[in-house]
């Protein structure tokens, strides 16, 4: 009945928005189908209903639409998508339509893309690691199942390669594992890199890939991460898998949000982003977690480029307030991947590693901090004027970059190998400097290089 009703009284077209008059019974956040005069189908979400007027944001934009001849139908409720294993091995666009030439994705059941907040008393604190096979991350900023941790990068750095490498290699130590990768505003070249890196995972039926490319409809990006998380929640909490959700690039998502906000004439907050950016980002990032009495976990890794490397920009700033840590890439790090260990942090790491590993990581960070001080001093007075301990710390920094951080994009290291490499780097430091590691551990592992 009602879902078949077509409304044709279009009062205005404005940016990505369309105003439909003389509607009845349209609900807020309802999903809409829009057929333009030329017969092309587009999709929309209801942003506001006011008596008989509905304001709809058009995911594909309003280009070439006319007030006459446009027909809008409403689906009777907020958007739901099919969920289930059918997404695995598939490549779809930002709205979930197949991009791989396959049939539409079907599922045994559907779920609302906006999700429902997880009752905080039913959350299990994150625990146990998601191993990425990337030494810089597994050694010092371990991902923990149920955690959200962001990758902060800037233009020109290989954050997508790193994100794809994590997506390709991540595992939960033999337990069922899947990856949902949501790409927002990626160039065709970047998307190809991601697809190549993730090919094996896709072939193994462990990957759902949602691609919204740079020349795809911008407003569609508002939906893409929500689809990804909805798919992931079902794979995890019903399917019993540990699911890693990678969302890149969040800046593209936030820009789409800003575009809608500006078109609506909302009062802007920082840098013209809407005042609800924090809540909106939280509604995505907070969908990570583990649930008491349910199997699986959802771990979320948003990737974002900081405009002009500015960490106080609203997108990285608000992301930092919500996520439980960050992995920072810096052009100042001379190896690939350029992970800046001192700026990176995993707040949940304690729950994912052994106490001995935690001590080892703390020791590395302390030594790297000391090395950074020594390097600043050396720039003033010259390296030859440094004391022996300071010089050994500089040696450690080099060894750490070479043995631990530097890693090929197709190289997957076991945790044991990563730890071995950390000890090899620590060999350049004298035992008296390793005050954070227990004596018996030092006896067993520390071989001071002469």
């Amino acid at each position: 009945m009602r879902p078949d009703l077509e409304y044709t009284d279009i009062a205005a077209l404005h940016g990505p928005l369309i105003v439909v008059r003389r509607t009845s019974g349209v609900g807020w956040d309802e999903f809409a189908r829009i057929r333009s005069a030329t017969g092309e189908e587009r999709h929309g979400l209801v942003l506001e209903v006011h008596e008989d007027i509905a304001l709809v944001q058009v995911l594909e934009g309003t280009a070439a639409m006319t007030t006459g001849g446009t027909r809008v139908t409403f689906t009777g409720g907020p958007l739901r998508i099919p969920v289930g294993d059918g997404w695995l091995g598939r490549v779809c666009d930002g709205r979930g339509e197949p991009r791989d030439g396959g049939p539409p994705v079907f599922g045994t059941t559907t779920a609302a893309v906006s999700g429902s907040p997880l009752n905080p008393t039913r959350r299990l604190p994150p625990a146990d690691p998601v191993l990425t096979g990337v030494s810089a991350i597994d050694a010092l900023t371990t991902l923990v199942r149920g955690q959200k941790i962001a990758i902060f990068s800037s233009a020109g750095l290989p954050h997508l390669e790193l994100a794809a490498q994590i997506g390709a290699q991540a595992n939960a130590g033999g337990e069922p594992f899947s990856v949902v990768f949501a790409a927002m505003g990626l160039t065709h070249a970047d998307a190809a890199t991601v697809r190549d890196a993730l090919e094996e995972r896709s072939a193994a039926g462990e990957l759902a890939l949602l691609l919204n490319l740079a020349d795809d409809p911008v407003i569609e990006r508002v939906l893409t991460p929500r689809l990804a998380l909805t798919i992931a929640e079902h794979l995890a909490f019903t399917g019993g898998r540990h699911v890693l959700v990678v969302m890149a690039d969040m800046l593209g998502y936030c820009e789409a949000l800003r575009e809608v906000s500006v078109a609506r004439g909302e009062i802007p907050a920082r840098r013209a982003y809407p005042g609800y950016l924090y809540s909106d980002l939280a509604s995505l990032y907070e969908r990570c977690g583990r649930v008491r009495g349910m199997p699986g976990s959802v771990t979320v890794v948003p990737v974002l480029t900081m405009p002009a490397r500015d960490m106080t920009h609203p997108v990285p700033d608000l992301t930092g307030y919500i996520t439980e840590g960050q992995i920072v890439l810096s052009p100042d790090v001379p190896v690939r991947p350029p992970v800046d260990a001192l700026s990176s942090l995993s707040r949940m790491m304690r729950a994912g590693v052994t106490p001995a590993h935690l001590d080892l990581a703390a020791q590395c960070l302390a030594a790297l901090a000391r090395a950074r001080q020594a390097r600043e001093l050396a720039e003033l007075v010259g390296e030859t004027a440094l004391g022996d301990t300071d010089r050994r710390h500089l040696d450690f920094e080099r060894a750490f970059l070479d043995h631990v951080v530097a890693q090929r994009a197709d190289e997957c290291r076991t945790l044991a190998e990563t730890v071995d490499r950390v000890w090899r780097a620590l060999a350049v430091l004298p035992r008296r400097e390793l005050t954070m590691i227990a004596g018996d551990v030092l006896d067993a592992r520390h071989r001071e290089a002469v």
């Binding site: 006011h50 008596e51 906006s114 905080p120 909302e266 802007p268 005042g275 809540s279 907070e286």
Partner: protein, 560 residues
């Protein structure tokens, strides 16, 4: 029954409900999502909805409840976890939706303290309820009058009256409109400190019972860990922890930790003196706005029983942002950075609900408010941070440089203030701890001197400084590492009482004094610096009592 005319996210407009009052509770749509009237124009009222409004339509029904948004207060609060409207989360569904099934409630053991026929005043205790926690739970007379009936000692079921006063039944559940401060007889002038167990706070930036604190800090500065430490260890009777728009995993952690930790004062669980209000950042936004008021209402409820309650709100910035979003949707003229013009007055009014008072029933109780502030981009000049500082007695600014140097708690001693410090020094003197103010002044001046010299040393190199100044730099380091740093993970040091704080501080000050003497006698600064200070620096983690601490300091620095 009225109808909805407009739905714009949490902003809903209703028509056809004549006689609506401001802040009246309204049920929206067929499942009656809760909302609160915030504006009335003619026959239209604007309602802020406390749940996700997806699917609500123009034309859907609206119901007026005839009462303001109010919280249900009772003995079930202690040890529980609630949402921003104080609905229990413990028994609620895994995935929260707008509709909640009310829980049946449980039986409580009631002991009467009056007998039928007694005349009682307003807030005279009628009886006591046994709870798992230490704080005694009193049922207070809602009005003066004569006790018509009182229940004998024994179990009381949910909703059953425990007595009758002045012709009105009294039950264990009391409703209070959260935006209205609970009345008290008078504010007390006397200043009594709240011991938080965190040295940098208790020593340098103490807070009084009934005081107000703002804790601004950018992300990664350890704000939540510091607040959680205070929630666990401060010597209040009741702690209300409001997670306002923050991380769900952290809420899960704090709830799990409170359930496991023993209360050092009573031996019970810390959870049993704690009320957790969890409105994580993905839960409906406008409930965040209410949760701050709900939290302080719960604290006032326990204050009326004569308890010292502490409200910890993490973070007030999310509350302010919720107000901003709503103001923006309702088309209000924006003031600073889009916040509504009443931001400053709303902040002031909220913090004024703190206070140490004589209650209407003549007991002494307090509500202390500790509010986290999350400045965007670490900008301390942004409106919420700037205005909050005007209205609080205490400011604990968290410093990013300290946090990067892994100095926790990263409370800046130079950018913070404590306006009750002198009065608290006077209280310590009366309690037999003279010299408290002098000790604080000495530590503060040593830290300030070390900071000044550190800037100088960055320019000219520490080696170029005279011995006296190099010892002053050393003094700063010893105070930072031996006294101010405190690990939340250290079993011996997570909580530090007043005596141990004094012992640690005096031990380090003694070492500093001896270093100064050595420098004055002409011992080269390099040799003083090379002494082994680790016994006294490690004392905070491995010397459990004041005697051991004092023993550690002896002979440091060693004879050069």
């Amino acid at each position: 029954m009225g109808t909805l005319t407009r739905v714009n996210g949490p902003l809903v407009e209703v028509a056809g409900l004549p006689g609506l009052a401001m802040f009246e509770l309204v049920g929206l749509g067929p499942v009656r999502l809760p909302g609160e009237v915030v504006e009335i124009r003619g026959d239209r009222a604007t309602v802020q909805a406390y749940e996700y409004t997806g699917g609500l339509r123009a034309g859907d029904p609206a119901t007026a409840y005839g009462r303001p948004l109010s919280a249900g207060l009772g003995p079930h609060l202690l040890g529980g976890v609630f949402d921003g409207l104080l609905r229990p989360l413990s028994g609620a569904d895994v995935w929260l939706t707008g509709a909640r099934t009310p829980s049946g409630g449980r039986e409580w053991r009631f002991t009467p303290l009056v007998t039928a026929g007694d005349p009682v005043d307003l807030e005279t205790p009628l009886g006591e309820v046994e709870t798992a926690g230490a704080p005694s739970y009193l049922v207070l007379a809602p009005a003066a009058g004569r006790v018509g009936a009182i229940r004998p000692a024994g179990p009381v079921g949910p909703g059953e009256p425990v007595g009758r006063v002045g012709g009105r039944d009294v039950t264990l559940l009391r409703r209070w409109p959260v935006r209205r401060p609970m009345p008290y007889r008078e504010r007390l002038e006397e200043v009594v400190p709240l011991t938080t167990g965190q040295r940098v706070v208790d020593l340098l930036l103490p807070v009084s019972r009934g005081g107000t604190v703002a804790v601004p800090g950018g992300f990664g500065t350890g704000k939540t860990v510091l607040l959680q430490q205070i929630a666990k260890w401060c010597d209040a009777d009741v702690v209300v922890y409001v997670g306002c728009g923050e991380r769900g995993n952290e809420m899960a952690e704090v709830v799990a930790a409170l359930a496991e930790l023993a209360d050092p004062r009573t031996g019970g669980r810390l959870a049993d003196r704690t009320v957790v209000i969890a409105n994580t950042s993905n839960m409906p936004m406008m409930a965040r706005e209410a949760s701050i008021y709900t939290g302080v209402t719960v604290a006032e409820h326990f204050r009326s029983m004569g308890h010292d309650a502490v409200v910890i709100a993490d973070s007030t910035s999310r509350w302010a942002e919720a107000r901003r979003e709503f103001a923006s949707r309702s088309g209000a003229m924006p003031a600073e950075e889009g916040y509504p013009a009443d931001l400053a007055s709303a902040l002031a009014a909220f913090y004024e609900r703190a206070g140490r008072v004589t209650t209407l029933g003549g007991r002494t109780g307090s509500v202390t408010v500790i509010g986290a502030v999350s400045p965007p981009g670490g900008d301390m000049t942004e409106p919420v941070t700037a205005h909050t500082q005007r209205f609080v007695r205490c400011l604990w600014t968290l410093d990013r440089d300290l946090a990067y140097a892994r100095h926790y708690p990263a409370v800046s001693w130079s950018a913070s203030f404590a306006r009750d410090a002198e009065a608290i020094a006077g209280w310590h003197a009366r309690e037999g701890r003279p010299g408290w103010g002098e000790r604080r002044a000495r530590v503060a001046s040593l830290l300030a001197e070390a900071d000044r010299l550190a800037l100088l040393a960055e320019l000219v190199g520490a080696a170029a400084l005279p011995a006296r100044e190099r010892v002053a730099l050393l003094a700063g380091r010893l105070l930072r590492e031996g006294v101010l740093q405190q690990s939340a993970l250290s079993p011996a040091d997570a909580f530090c009482d007043a005596e141990r704080t004094i012992a640690l501080t005096d031990a380090v000050l003694g070492v500093i004094g001896r270093c100064e003497e050595l420098a004055a006698r002409g011992v080269p600064a390099g040799r003083i610096e090379q002494s082994d200070f680790s016994p006294v620096l490690r004392a905070k983690d491995d010397a459990p009592d004041p005697e051991t601490v004092r023993a550690r300091a002896e002979g440091v620095p060693g004879a050069p």
